[in-house]
Subunit: 683 residues, 2 copies
């Protein structure tokens, strides 16, 4: 803290001396010493990486930690090379989707089992139905990607075609759902870990928060590095499950169908509920979590290497193919072998299938371990989706503008940190309970998806380009299915917690709109129309220098104040007449008549109130001219010394910040200052 930025006059850092163009125009040209950190291009100074060199020890340590955690800063023009291709893009955007293959079959079977064991025979037809709907959904999203290559998804599509309110509803739904994706995925992953190692159960919230922090740091490294980092585990899961499936298929093909491992607690044989449309739709909705990943791809089109839309489309198709194959294969093996879901939830259908096929050996544990990892990595898709959506919204002024700024590694750091923070709070609030979080989940994405499909239908019917009918039909089909699912999920989960999400959404929409209104109103007030040429007048301020003690710091402030204006007065506040008299006398000795002095006696010992009222008095005398208050501030050698000094200057600054027509000039006085002429005008 004590060290200021290194003085550039130390030897070899100077590169050249140039005249600063224009500084003090028409008078004389001022020398500027351009250090190594800059070079000139087309008249602009361009900073090099050297500008990031830390100043001081604490700065160096922080920079070192940052470099280890997230890597060296990247220049803006590296954005192109930081984009992802198909192979690194797939694990980022597909992890949520692919991870659902670990439980899609189970969720479907679990719902069907309520209609009696006999209904389990519907597992395979239901799987095929879900996959078919997914095909419709993916096809309709391929159209979105092609239509919105700048990155879109539900928010953009709904805003453009159905109006800003629809866009904001879709955005609010998605933002909530991304947060829930992180919370649910990580909680589920930690639950998997703690069922293997029960001793960590009490630390599950801490572990979950650490995992969220890990994901956040990985994503802060930039989208490409995050893809590379998280690609391994994703592909490992896919490879492991494909191996399991292949071996299972071979055993079925050669007639060696494995015996099913029985569940710990089987479902009752008789029906608990009738098998109706609602039950089937609920089963469908459980398997349709794939949609979150689809949204993320649509938002993330600009993260792909050119041709962006094409690469994004390939990832979308690959993702759907991968999920569809795994889902179909697991459902097929489960029903062929005759595995039944476990009512006690101590074993998953996937683990029962795996144990049936490969037994209790190492491969079974590999399946379990990679499954736990893929469940956690599902959160990664949200880390790809949320910051991009937030950045698009920030450009539209619906989110604080920080969300639109790229961080050191060109990732949207604010969005990543916000997502990590909110989801960590959520996990902590729900004590890491998956059961508590699940009902809140997936309500939003179905709503957003329905709005985006409706928007697309509107777009086609309005534009009526060639082939619009079939395009509109595809989107209408997708929208209808997800609309029905949104309704079913909302109703089914309402009492379990979905009401919370439904209640938060309008609040969020109002908040987003309030942010927008604030920025807009600010612009109306502040913006100078480009047509308007301003006659920039030089406004001569009146200068007031409050002085508590006539020391070197005060003398320096007075010297600068005099250089700034000749319309200047020093003010001293005393608590009694004696003090005022003594100060006046000392002033006459040290400063003389160079600067006029006003003394104020404050019998109530309030310095700030007396000074502000005095400034009011000066101001009232000539309200047209601004006032500059010059404060001398002493910079302690060590930060802890600051407590030994009066905080009057700080409080005065805060007070004057809220005062119209008044600027504050801070003149810091450094104890360890080595410059003779600049620091001690008395020399």
């Amino acid at each position: 803290m004590a060290e200021g930025p290194a003085a550039p006059s130390r030897g070899p850092r100077l590169e050249r001396v140039e005249e600063l163009r224009g500084l003090r125009p028409g008078d004389r040209r001022v020398r500027i010493v351009v250090p190594r950190e800059f070079h000139r291009t087309h008249g602009s100074l361009v900073t090099t990486e050297a500008v990031l060199a830390p100043s001081g020890r604490i700065g160096a340590v922080l920079r070192g930690i940052r470099a280890i955690l997230i890597g060296r800063p990247l220049p803006t023009d590296a954005e192109q090379t930081e984009r992802v291709g198909v192979l690194t893009g797939l694990p980022i955007f597909a992890s949520d989707n692919v991870s659902s293959s670990a439980y899609a079959t189970e969720e479907a079977m679990r719902v069907l089992a309520l209609a009696g064991v006999g209904a389990l025979s519907l597992t395979m037809p239901l799987t095929v139905a879900i996959v078919l709907v997914l095909v419709v959904v993916v096809t309709s999203y391929l159209q979105v990607i092609r239509a919105y290559p700048q990155g879109g998804g539900s928010y953009v599509v709904a805003s453009e075609n159905l109006g800003p309110l629809a866009g904001l509803v879709a955005a609010a739904a998605l933002l909530v759902d991304y947060v829930l994706t992180v919370a649910v995925s990580v909680a589920a992953g930690v639950a998997a870990i703690s069922s293997a190692f029960p001793e960590v159960h009490n630390e599950r919230v801490i572990i979950a928060i650490l995992l969220i922090a890990l994901l956040a740091v990985g994503n802060l490294r930039g989208v490409r590095e995050a893809g590379i980092l998280f690609a391994g585990p994703t592909y490992l899961y896919v490879g492991t499950i494909l191996g399991l499936i292949a071996y299972g298929f071979v055993r079925v093909a050669i007639g060696d169908v494995p015996d099913p491992v029985p569940p710990a607690v089987p479902f009752p044989v008789e029906a608990v509920q009738p098998l109706g449309l609602i039950l089937i739709l609920r089963a469908f909705s459980s398997g349709a979590v794939a949609l979150t990943g689809t949204e993320a791809v649509a938002n993330g089109v600009p993260a792909f290497r050119p041709p962006e839309s094409r690469n994004a489309g390939i990832v979308l198709v690959l993702m759907a193919t991968l999920f569809g194959s795994l889902f179909l294969a697991i459902s097929f093996l489960a029903t062929t072998i005759g595995v039944r879901p476990d009512a006690s939830e101590t074993q998953t259908v996937l683990s029962l299938v795996a144990r049936s096929i490969v037994g209790d050996g190492w491969y079974f544990y590999l399946v379990q371990a990679t499954t736990a990892i893929i469940l956690i990595l599902a959160a990664n898709t949200a880390f790809a989706g949320f910051p991009r959506l937030a950045s698009i919204m920030a450009v539209d002024r619906f989110m604080p503008r920080q969300f639109a700024q790229r961080g050191e590694r060109l990732a949207f750091s604010t969005g990543i940190i916000a997502l990590a923070g909110v989801s960590a709070i959520l996990v902590a609030a729900f004590q890491g309970s998956v059961t508590g979080l699940i009902p809140l989940y997936t309500v939003g994405v179905f709503l957003a998806f329905t709005l985006s499909q409706a928007g697309m239908v509107r777009k086609w019917t309005r534009e009526r380009r060639p082939g619009w009918r079939s395009s509109a039909l595809i989107n209408a089909a997708g929208g209808t299915v997800t609309g029905v699912v949104a309704l079913v999920v909302g109703v089914a989960k309402f009492q379990l917690g979905a009401w919370l999400v439904i209640a938060i959404m309008p609040v969020l929409v109002v908040l987003l709109y309030a942010i927008h209104r604030h920025y807009r109103s600010l612009e109306d007030v502040l913006l100078v129309p480009s047509s308007q040429a301003l006659a920039l007048a030089a406004v001569r301020p009146r200068v007031i220098v409050p002085i508590s003690r006539l020391d070197r710091a005060a003398i320096r402030a007075l010297a600068i104040a005099r250089g700034v204006s000749d319309d200047i007065v020093a003010v001293h506040v005393s608590f009694d007449e004696e003090g005022a008299r003594a100060f006046t006398q000392r002033w006459a000795e040290v400063v003389g008549g160079a600067v006029p002095l006003e003394t104020i006696i404050s019998p109530f010992r309030t310095v700030i109130a007396a000074l502000t009222r005095y400034i009011d008095a000066i101001d009232a005398g000539d309200p047209a001219r601004p006032i500059v208050v010059v404060l001398s501030e002493f910079v302690p050698r060590h930060w802890w010394e600051a407590v030994l000094h009066n905080q009057t200057a700080l409080l005065l600054k805060l007070r004057l910040f809220l005062r119209r027509n008044t600027a504050v000039m801070d003149v810091p006085y450094h104890l360890d200052s080595g410059r003779p002429s600049g620091d001690d005008p008395s020399a």
Copy 2:
């Protein structure tokens, strides 16, 4: 927050218009509108109470709460009328002392009982001995008061006569002991309350902290009001006990000696420890808590009405007489009736005496209730002593200077708040346990007292004024007794916790000395010798105006910057070439050539690093002249809107504060600003 200070131009607040003497000397005289809040005396502006009128709603609410809690602010010249006489001074300074009458007999008996029940017959002789020693102590302190009418006590006496180190040791001992007095008194009071109402036992820390806050608020009202506030309960206790004693004496005199109420758990009849000097000294030390109050009177002499020393002396004598009489009488009644201490500590000796004399009726409960209150009020003496000692030390630069400033009610508010804060933390750390805190208590005061007596002896032997021999003898006697007690208490309580106090004291002494050294070294660097007449040069600064967006706030900053210097350059940081080009073009349209513009392209998207390096470059070109960085800051309508704006300006200010040779000028732009000419120079 949104409201600035009320504009003084609103109608009736103006009183007169005067020319400001000297502002812009030799050029023209500037009108100053002097509002009602000021009047002029001997050339100085004097503020009236109107200056304290709050600005804005939040200010008014805060001011209202303060007025209710601590009263209207008092002017400095009210200090005389705020002093206390004998009747209000007595309860403030004597409460600690008088409260010890509630347990002095008991403590003595409890120690004697260890030597067997037979040793209890020594209670009365021991009481007489303690009272005699107290007479010596009070007599020697009367000499201190007469010698140091400006307020003294151990710190001043030891510093002046034995050197600063002895003074600091005494001060450290006293500061620690005052904190412990508050903690022990309040904890004991709460223990008394919770033994009557066991259901509050779990809330004892909260209750203790509330009581400390209550005492602090009472003392913040000023010493006189605190005296009035707390006089009632103190005199009520004294009256109640005197009534009890009178009735007891009457019964004894007429031969109707009451039967003793037996203790719940009697002490063993046989001796547990031999009756030696150590035991008697320990018994003595338990009864000698009176000394804390004596110190407080010595520190607080200036709080008395003139003649200060005389009034303080009367209070000291009255206090000793009161305590001595109560102590002697209670010991007499206890031994005459034959009350024995309770080994289980469920009943005090005083309550056993009271029940023996008046039975279980209302008077008994009155005794209990007033005892609980006086135990808590004992803390009040520390609230009188600590802030005064701290203020004397702050004047000597051994404490932060805030401790020397009088608050709104002329009390030393910082000391009061510090004492309340530290003792509250202590009570919380010890979970409100009296047993845990007692061993830490009274070690310090005996040490301080011994040092002060040694200092007095030194003073008399050095000055050799008439009668110095008897004065020296009195102080030597007092010092010897307390020295021995200090040693005994220190050894006896060392393992029980006194080591903590003994360990903290050197740390505290070093800290106090470090504070002193800091202020001294600062003065050496900063102070301008009064002999030195400074040739105050006007230092022309170079002005740099960083501009992120060319809006009205920026235009205003540019206008003021131009009024301040013609040596000015505007700097814009872009993240890419395109942005720099666009800004340059817009600048040409809006500002034109009036202010030269430098554009910096920062490919690593760091604004602050780029700006500070650029300032380095300007600085290196002409290191002799200071730099003023003009920042336009937008003042949001509501504080929560601040999160929507980049904190770049704030970070830049922090960074530049540590930079040598650089002043920062903040030009706030108010959205709701109604002044045309001051705010919009483009008009």
